[in-house]
């Protein structure tokens, strides 16, 4: 079972209080983009064994979104952070680097 700290309401929420909302930091491609870009935006998802970034919604709690950085292999949680950001905060990156030196995820490392 996962326990994630919701940065919006300060609660350590159980997995059953939350709803997984898919991959974090997607860049949207809409009208004017190429078919390939739109296809990748819709369908191409990362599926790493290791460091991963996800969106979660505190659906039974405050109802707000947030981001979580965790390891898909060990379920270790590196930290959670605001949903209103385009990439993980430096503190989150540092926490991951301390545990998983040399990690990368998409364009982020």
């Amino acid at each position: 079972m996962l326990t994630l700290h919701c940065p919006n309401c300060g609660v350590d929420a159980d997995e059953t209080d939350l709803h997984a909302e898919g991959e974090a930091h997607l860049k949207r491609y809409g009208p004017g983009s190429s078919d390939d870009e739109f296809h990748d935006y819709l369908f191409q998802r990362q599926n790493p064994k290791g460091v991963h970034f996800e969106r979660w919604k505190h659906v039974f709690g405050c109802g707000k979104y947030f981001h979580a950085a965790r390891c898909t292999a060990t379920l270790e949680v590196f930290g959670t952070y605001s949903a209103q950001t385009l990439e993980p905060t430096q503190a989150i990156k540092d926490a991951i680097s301390a545990k998983r030196p040399g990690w990368s995820w998409g364009d982020i490392s």
Binding site: D12, D14, G61, C62
Partner: protein, 188 residues
């Protein structure tokens, strides 16, 4: 004006921990910028309490206020005063972006009180209910069994639970089974 009837019509499950319906309460969902001075003053004048900090609630009798999310409050007023409270909010917040809605009839209010009330809730919600983790004055939105609910403590042995009216009967039965004779776990 229609005659408002509470979900469970005052049902009581008595025992060492008593579960009873709290009856009709005036409840207003108030959303907006919680830092706004107009919002602060209208909340104070309606309930007598300042806007609580994150994860807190303040209540006394029929009046109270709870922190629901970074942009949402639950305002508790006596049942007959909901309409006038909404008018006061509309007047105070004129020109500002906000939302106030009377949700009194959408909710069920249940009181759980007695020696092991803490355990009654702890068996149903994925929440740390240790006496050092959840104290009187804390407000928590989570779930009870299968339904969304929120609860807060008014004193060491009393919980107030609110949930949607449509699941009020389920929540009451769930709580009364958890509070049944022999239901004490003795963990806390």
């Amino acid at each position: 004006m229609s005659n408002a009837v509470s979900t469970l019509q005052g049902k009581v499950a008595a025992g060492e921990v008593t579960v009873r319906e709290g009856g009709l309460r005036g409840m207003i969902t108030l959303r907006g910028d919680l830092a706004s001075s107009k919002l602060k003053s209208v909340c104070k004048s309606l309930t007598g309490f300042a806007i609580p900090d994150m994860g807190k609630a303040a209540s006394k009798g029929d009046k109270g206020i709870a922190w629901m999310s970074p942009d949402e409050l639950l305002v508790l007023v006596p049942q007959g005063e909901t309409a006038s409270a909404l008018e006061k909010i509309a007047k105070a917040m004129k020109g500002q972006h906000y939302l106030a809605e009377n949700v009194s009839d959408a909710r069920t209010h249940i009181i759980v009180e007695g020696s092991f009330a803490r355990e009654v809730i702890a068996k149903l919600a994925p929440v740390d209910l240790h006496p050092t983790a959840l104290r009187p004055g804390d407000f928590r939105r989570s779930r009870l069994g299968q339904v969304a609910a929120a609860f807060w403590m008014t004193d060491a042995d009393t919980f107030r639970v609110i949930c949607f009216r449509s699941v009020g009967d389920y929540a009451f039965k769930l709580l009364s089974v958890s509070a049944a004779k022999g239901g004490e776990v003795g963990y806390f």
